[in-house]
Amino acid sequence: MFGWEFPPMSSGGLGTACYGLTKGLSQHGIGVTFVMPYVSEGVDAEFVKLLPANTAQKIKMVGVDSPLHAYITSSEYQEFLLTYKKTGKQNKLYGHNLFEEVYRFSMKAALIAQHEQFDVIHCHDWMTYEAGIRAREASGKPMVIHVHATDFDRTGGNVNQLVYDIEKRGMHAADMIIAVSQFTKNKIVEHYGINPDKVTVVHNAVTQEEKPRFHINKHDKIVLFLGRITLQKGPDYFIEAARKCLEFDPNIRFVIAGTGDMEGQIIQRAAEYGIGDKVLFAGFVKDEDLDRMYQLADVYVMPSVSEPFGITPLEAMKNGTPCIISKQSGVSEVITHCLKVDFWDINQLVDKILSVLKHEELHHALKEHGALEIKNFTWREPAGKCVDVYKKAIAGG
């Protein structure tokens, strides 16, 4: 399995999903060798063999002087660098630009594929597709790619041609494709010209550990946004909704947890609206603080413009926090005990935020039913579906 991140070293949902999925696969008796560019200290997962590509033997590091430099605008990559800088573990492997990394990773993948024993190659998202293709060439084993997001989600349609090309090449080269939602499958079929029969929808799940309960002492009602502050996640819709909510009730507090390329813009907007004191920026939140943050909130809002899956509402529900989620998300296909809005319909979002805060019965019902519903989302089931996909891929598609 080729991935890009693995908890605790992860900046988003991808790492969390890889963790859950490999754990679920182990319950089906599937052994996983997880290859990622760099394995940090503190990774603890006995059910998976983690293999850092940077320690793979006999790899000649080749500096790639490529024209790709000209196109480096990926805020995703900036985000990576930012995160890794913050954790103080500057990573030698990650190069000056993301495409260079992707290329180096794929070169090593071929070597690793020659040394490791495996039956199927499973790649997570576009950064690993090239690695998968090389490994497939080197080993002759079938390749399954797992689409957690497409560039259409990340950029709101303004795709980066290079990323798109890599995605498309990977999807066409793959023996089978796994999409995290029907929403994503539709994108794969429409935008990448893939035969729908080749794509299986496997929704994500959540790990079922008990959440620690924190003692929360607060006076105000809190509405939470948690995620990267970037176009895809709809922080601008959140701030517009905040402005309108505050016209009805000036005592509400809005918390934005995360970092991202739109952070400055959003802070500025809050100031412009004169609600700077009501909108609080919490920065990048992780581990225990994540749970604390969800529990602090009276309602969690995910106003994503395009969310292939969206694991955060499941995390919020696990923490007993009612959710309002964008209908333009994969997760809205699978959960019922939450409120759903079109991301562009700010009035509807405001109506729902105010209702959850105002009506204790509604808050209670969402919390109780949500906590029950979430118990159905174990990783065992999606892992089982992946095993079926592997079998098909091995049998020749």
């Binding site: 019922t336 005990h337 109506d351 105010l354 209702s355 009506h359 019965e361 509604l362 019902a365």
Partner: protein
């Protein structure tokens, strides 16, 4: 000798629109007029018109055939507003003299549970409406969703009714049969008719279920089952939603063919006949008292109130709507009173039901909301607006 008593429930609520926090204090347009009209037209086309045609044919050709209806006041209002031809076709049926109409609460409400005064007022309004439209004063009562208990039977008896309908729930009847009349333990005169839910649900729910080992249900087969009650009962009460025909069971399931053949098949047995509820009350004596202390209904597996008042949202919404009764009535504003009453229709609470996983499909039927939570939000926003309407003016 067994008599078959058909009663069909005809009801459509005034659904409320997605009334948001931005509407509160700005407008009183609560009703989803387009949707209500659209649903009425659809149901008229698929169910009311074709089913009435089948029944009118039976009634004209067979003087022994009899059926009964209960119409909510709000469905009659919507017929007048959106589908006058449907109303005329029901009037044609009643004009045959072989069709009985029952009384209920005008607004298809759960008023009895919250306000006896309001309950009584709505029953009176309903009685008048039936008289106006059908020239007929009902003597048998059925409460919304067959919500029933001892105390309610007594209350309805005191209002002068001779008969009342309830669900023949297993946990009430035990070894007893629903195919007899009973006397509510609290009452002297009123007689209780109980739904034979097995035979009723064979038509209403199982008819098109291909996983059912009796599928497909044919008229001769059904007649055979009814015949089996001969010698063990006086009356087989087949109670169901009228929308069973053509809506819950689509035309392509063969439901209309079944209806066309059914009366003839039943009458093949010389001991069978058709009867209306008031005729049953006149013809048969109760076989025993029946003690139903806890409230029952005809809904879901539980046969209780949980479909309307099962969760905290439903309970809160219902309690709050009746809390403003006194003030609404003091103000003597007909529009305000009507809005308030239309909000009492049980469907609004049904849409807020969260016990989806087992009973899901029935609850979603005609439900204008994507989720029970959305239903609750719109309802509470309207209630908020009502509060503004009834608030005393701020002194200058």
């Amino acid at each position: 000798m067994v008599s078959v008593c058909f009663y069909f429930q005809v009801h459509q609520p005034y659904r409320i629109r997605n009334y948001s926090v931005f509407d509160i204090g700005n407008n009183n347009q609560y009703w989803f007029n387009d949707k209500n009209k659209q649903i009425m037209e659809k149901v008229a086309k698929k169910c009311y018109i074709p089913t009435n045609k089948v029944f009118l044919n039976h009634l004209r050709n067979n003087p022994e055939f009899k059926i009964s209806y209960s119409f909510s006041g709000v469905v009659l209002d919507q017929f007048e507003e959106y589908a006058p031809d449907v109303l005329r076709s029901f009037q044609d049926l009643v004009d045959t003299g072989q069709v009985e109409v029952l009384d209920e609460t005008y607004y298809h409400s759960l008023a009895y549970l919250y306000s006896k005064d309001e309950f009584k007022a709505q029953v009176k309004l309903h009685n008048k409406k039936v008289k106006d439209l059908f020239g007929y004063s009902p003597s048998v009562f059925r409460n919304t969703e067959l919500v029933y208990n001892n105390e309610l039977a007594k209350f309805v008896e005191d209002m002068g009714y001779k008969g009342i309908l309830a669900e023949g729930a297993d946990h009430i009847l035990g070894w007893r049969s629903p195919n007899f009349l009973y006397r509510p333990v609290t009452c002297n005169n009123i007689k209780l008719l109980l739904k034979n839910y097995k035979l009723s649900d064979d038509i209403a729910f199982r008819f098109s279920n291909k996983g059912w080992n009796e599928h497909p249900l044919t008229a001769p087969k059904f007649a055979k089952w009814v015949n089996q009650t001969n010698g063990n009962g006086n009356v087989v009460n087949l109670f169901m939603d009228y929308e069973t025909f053509g809506e819950h069971q689509w035309e392509d399931t063969g439901i209309f063919k079944f209806l066309e053949a059914m009366p003839h098949e039943l009458l093949k047995h010389p001991d069978n006949k058709f009867i209306t509820p008031s005729e049953a009350v006149k013809s048969f004596e109760p076989v025993s008292d029946l003690d139903i202390h806890n409230i029952i209904s005809w809904a879901d597996i539980e046969r209780d109130l949980s479909a309307w008042l099962g969760n905290s949202m439903q309970q809160s919404a219902a309690t709050k709507i009746y809390q403003i009764e006194k003030r609404v009535k003091e103000l003597n504003d007909p529009k305000l009173l009507e809005d308030w009453r239309k909000l009492q229709t049980s469907d609004h609470f049904y849409y807020m039901c969260t016990k989806w996983f087992a009973d899901g499909d029935v609850h979603r039927y005609f439900n204008p909301y994507e989720s029970p939570y959305d239903g609750f939000i719109a309802f509470m926003n309207i209630l908020n607006d009502m509060h503004k309407r009834i608030a005393p003016p701020i002194p200058a």
